[in-house]
């Protein structure tokens, strides 16, 4: 029943997009509620009073926040096409690397954007090392999840979004010469049916990214 499942999100949020990809992969119908993040709805603030962020997932009227937590809930509730691996050790590894992406790679990428002239090179070097560490985890596999998209590929969408949008920021952090394997993986993810249907159009994303960062940093 579609009306029982709602997703509060933003088209420009990769975290929202993670949940959409999983819903698509599992063929779950839902109502999409597009939030204007500069003017958050009373419902969003009611359903996520602590963080006041998207995405928020609503099932049978009960809200869940935090994209990876939402995905684990979806995986446990709709058990077909599992997103997480079956084996507990493999699950631990998927969770470990997803945490690494959110807690190490994302902040490091931000740091390169906000760094002053003096710190930028060191910030870029750090981000590169972290991306290299992630790249090694692919280890000859098509996807982090193996033959098809899994939890870590979905969590890794922020890396894919970086690859797509970095030109709007005047940077080449994910240089395909430096990260050939990660680059190929990005292309495979972008080519995936579910992902393709959920990914915003490139030009729209670039324009948004450009505008957002000019607002943040001043025009480059």
């Amino acid at each position: 029943m579609a009306e029982e499942v709602k997703l509060f999100g933003s088209w420009a949020s990769p975290y929202t997009s993670r949940v959409k990809v999983v819903l698509k992969l599992k063929g779950i119908e839902y109502e999409n509620v597009e939030e204007d993040l500069s003017n958050k709805s009373p419902l969003l603030l009611k359903y996520n009073p602590i963080h006041k962020k998207v995405p928020v997932f609503l099932h049978h009227g009960k809200p869940i926040a935090e994209s990876l937590i939402i995905i684990e809930y979806i995986d446990e509730t709709w058990k077909h096409n599992p997103i997480l691996p079956i084996d507990p050790y493999d699950r631990a590894m998927a969770r470990f690397w997803a945490k690494f992406i959110d807690e190490k790679i994302q902040p490091a990428v931000w740091k390169t954007l906000l760094a002053g002239e003096n710190e930028r090179e060191a910030a870029i070097e750090e981000a590169h090392q972290l991306l290299k560490t992630l790249e090694r985890e692919l280890n000859g596999k098509k996807f982090f999840g193996g033959e098809s998209l899994g939890f870590l590929d979905v969590a890794g969408n922020v890396v894919v979004w970086l690859e797509v949008s970095q030109e709007a920021l005047g940077m080449n952090l994910l240089d395909k010469e430096k990260f050939p394997i990660l680059h190929e993986w990005c292309q495979r993810v972008l080519d995936d049916d579910a992902f393709k249907q959920v990914m915003p159009p490139k030009e729209k994303l670039l324009a948004f990214t450009r505008a957002r960062f000019e607002a943040f940093l001043g025009p480059k």
Partner: protein, 225 residues
């Protein structure tokens, strides 16, 4: 002997304590390897090359790092005395609160401890907001897990010991019994619960350690101003 379980920890790590509690609650036999973080062993670096930290759980030779990830692994591998609830929504809530603890509560409380002046005041305000959310969550419950200690209690449990240590060192009240009565009594109940009460690190040693950290922080901030 069936399995080999090893826990790499330090005497004081709050994160490692989570794993000690989980293993003991489930009655899992394990070997402890104490690390000196100023002189990390080759094994630690081999088992956790990404973060080079404790805790690390090694099960039949396979290492897992990150305490909340380890807790979930333990719960999925040894099914007795479950830590997470059965219901998927309750599980999502448990994961949410544990993450909130690590991302927000810990950060704000650490700032109350380590900062001075205006920064400390602001950190105290942020801490009160965060703790109020936890207080709300405690309504009608003895532990965050309900009647029994669960995943969220283990994730937040270090607070039951560390907060009073911080309060003593900086001379500030963080969890006031009148303002946060449910949280206050949870801290007492948790600290004195079986297994938990037998595994706290020595208090005097903790005070010396954290006082030294604070002194160093103050010294470095005044020398750079």
């Amino acid at each position: 002997m069936g399995e080999e379980v090893k826990l790499f920890r330090t005497w004081s790590s709050s994160f490692a304590l989570r794993i000690v509690w989980a293993l003991k609650i489930k009655g899992i036999e394990y070997e402890t390897v104490f690390e000196d973080l100023s002189n990390k062993s080759p094994l630690l670096l081999q088992y956790n090359p990404v973060h080079k930290k404790v805790p690390i759980l090694v099960h039949n030779g396979r290492p897992i790092a990150e305490s909340l990830v380890i807790l979930e692994y333990i719960d999925e591998t040894w099914k007795q005395a479950p830590l997470l609830p059965k219901d998927p929504y309750e599980r999502a809530m448990a994961r949410f609160w544990a993450k909130f603890g690590d991302d927000k509560v810990l950060t704000s409380i650490w700032s109350v401890f380590i900062k001075q002046g205006k920064e400390q005041e602001e950190a105290l305000v942020a801490t009160m907001e965060n703790l109020k959310f936890l207080e709300e969550e405690m309504k009608g419950k003895k532990f965050f897990g309900g009647e029994r200690i669960g995943y969220v209690d283990l994730a937040l449990g270090y607070l039951a010991n560390l907060i009073s240590i911080f309060e003593e060192i900086v001379g500030l009240k963080i969890v006031d019994e009148e303002k946060l009565p449910l949280l206050y009594s949870w801290m007492q109940d948790f600290a004195e619960a079986p297994i938990i009460r037998d595994n706290w690190p020595p208090r005097e040693k903790m005070i010396v350690k954290f006082q030294a950290l604070l002194d160093a922080a103050i010294a470095s901030s005044s020398s750079s101003s």
